[in-house]
């Protein structure tokens, strides 16, 4: 029974990792850029969710119920977080792309963007931790001795839904086709009459929107926010994406869950200080056997 409980917890953690890893993989798939600011976009998403929900609930004039507030906060958070992602693309990555800068400089820029987001947040909002208002009345279902909250179920289903939706967009829509085309050959896309920037902006919007959603769900599950909350989770999600095969949506999803399972199971049976050591050792072993990740194939498919 205990193991099933751990299993459910791992599914929830895996959902967070997967939601972030999907954004890493999307941007990498299209641009071959590792957007190291992505973990911090997740953090920004959590803060946006905090401000939106607080604003919605604070003013009595709206007279919103908790559920109404929640259903408004989700799209607003995703929208505003995508704006942040879009802004980064516009002011940081696009000028470098125009100049044909080497990938290394773009990656360093991404790292710096992440630090600016973290420390900008710290400077603007101070170091005090914030708590997301309660929007979902907690219900605990007891299924054969396993406690599952409605939030946990929501998180897992959201991750699943996002995965299915992304897979659909990338494989079945024209925009998805254009994204796959860019991942293979950036040069030829304008020759198809399609604006390259449009495809790239769309990719950033999707990636950051999903990260925003993840940040919000994370903040609902662990309602204390701080400016550095995105960095470690972000790194781990990045590693999950690489282990899954960066550039591949299935890989990001699977990698996220894989990492969460290893972490939770190690923490369950060994001292919790061993958690990261074991988790990363397992991932290292996988990389050793399959350097391109589980779904990655060298030089062929991305996305």
């Amino acid at each position: 029974m205990v193991i099933v409980q751990h299993f459910v917890n791992a599914l929830q953690w895996g959902s967070f990792y997967a939601l972030i890893a999907l954004g890493y993989t999307l941007v990498y798939g299209v641009l071959s850029l590792i957007n190291f600011a992505h973990g911090d976009i997740f953090m920004v998403g959590a803060y946006i969710a905090f401000f939106v929900s607080t604003a919605l609930l604070a003013s009595d004039s709206f007279g919103l119920s908790h559920f109404q507030a929640l259903s408004l906060t989700i799209p607003l958070t995703m929208l505003l977080t995508s704006c942040v992602g879009m802004t980064l693309e516009r002011i940081a990555y696009r000028p470098l792309r125009r100049k044909g800068a080497h990938r290394l400089y773009v990656v360093i820029t991404a790292l710096m963007c992440g630090l600016v987001l973290e420390n900008g947040n710290l400077a603007l909002l101070g170091a005090s931790r914030r708590t997301l208002p309660e929007m979902l009345d907690k219900v605990v279902y007891n299924i054969g001795g396993i406690a599952v909250t409605n939030l946990k179920i929501g998180v897992i289903f959201t991750a699943l839904l996002v995965f299915v939706a992304l897979q659909y967009i990338v494989t079945r829509t024209r925009m998805g086709m254009a994204m796959r085309a860019v991942s293979w050959d950036k040069f030829a896309l304008p020759l198809m009459g399609i604006a390259l920037d449009r495809v790239i902006v769309f990719t950033f919007v999707m990636g950051s929107g999903i990260a925003g959603l993840g940040g919000m769900l994370f903040a609902m599950s662990y309602p204390v926010l701080d400016p550095y909350m995105g960095s470690m989770v972000g790194w781990k999600a990045f590693i999950a994406a690489v282990v899954g095969g960066i550039g591949d949506i299935r890989g990001a999803f699977l990698g996220g869950f894989l990492l969460a399972f290893v972490e939770i199971m190690v923490a369950a049976f060994l001292p919790s200080t061993f958690r990261d050591l074991f988790a990363f050792t397992v991932l290292l072993l996988i990389m050793w056997q399959r350097p391109t990740g589980i779904f990655g194939a060298p030089q062929t498919t991305k996305i």
Partner: protein, 240 residues
């Protein structure tokens, strides 16, 4: 239809084209011939308004399409709005997409055009091999088939002016002739064509007029018959 006026184009600090002028009339096949590094591809990329890296910057001169300057037009609009298409050197097909997807992608900008399915059928008539392999990943095609796909893909933009950069490169002689026969056929159907070639003899046999480029400048021009007879050109470009 197309008028290139005294263009200078460079990659970074290296100037590849030093003042080229030429024109293309509607319904013509015009060829630009010359050795490697003569500035042929650079000229085509400049016409398409492609951006660096990968394409040059135009430092001087102007390009007019039906009287309108292209300098402020973005590359995707050169294709989508002005209907000029390029088959780039090295094909640049999307290898991770199926043959069919490669042909669908350029029709995105023709959203409400009812002719798309008909045009697709026309491509499959023109290149039956592509029809047979429509659901195959396009990087599994042979070199010749990939070249057909690159041409088919450009035609799916419903272009009025087609630019081709070395369409014969890497093709066996038989396929090379077939490619040029197809171009002739397309031209007879009303398409204006500019073709850049290293295989000068073949290009001059098919085209109406030709320009000879050498190290970024035009050194000779005229009707193809005249160029084929020119003793100087024979010696340098046609192997005696």
């Amino acid at each position: 239809m197309l008028r290139v006026e005294n263009i200078f184009a460079s990659y970074g600090k290296i100037e590849a084209v030093h003042g080229i002028s030429f024109h293309v009339d509607e319904g013509e096949i015009v060829t630009l011939i010359g050795a490697n590094g003569a500035g042929k591809s650079t000229t085509l990329k400049a016409i398409m308004r492609l951006v660096p890296p990968g394409a040059p910057v135009l430092t001087k001169g102007d390009i007019f399409f039906e009287g309108r300057s292209l300098l402020t037009v973005e590359p995707h609009n050169v294709v989508a709005k002005l209907l000029i298409a390029l088959v780039p050197e090295g094909r640049h097909i999307f290898g991770n997409l199926s043959v069919l997807e490669n042909l669908i992608l350029p029709t995105w900008t023709r959203k409400n055009d009812p002719d798309v399915p008909m045009d697709m059928e026309r491509i499959f008539e023109l290149f039956p091999r592509l029809g047979e392999r429509r659901n195959q990943r396009s990087d599994t095609l042979s070199g010749g088939e990939q070249q057909m796909l690159a041409v088919g893909r450009a035609l799916m933009t419903k272009c009025r002016l087609l630019l081709l950069d070395e369409p014969s490169m890497g093709l066996a002689p038989q396929l090379m002739y077939e490619m040029f026969r197809t171009l002739k056929k397309l031209n007879e159907g009303g398409l204006t064509i500019v073709v850049v070639e290293q295989n000068a003899r073949l290009a001059l046999q098919v085209a109406d007029r030709g320009y000879v480029l050498d190290t970024g400048e035009i050194v000779a021009e005229g009707p193809c018959a005249a160029l084929l007879d020119d003793p100087e050109i024979k010696k340098i470009y046609l192997g005696g």
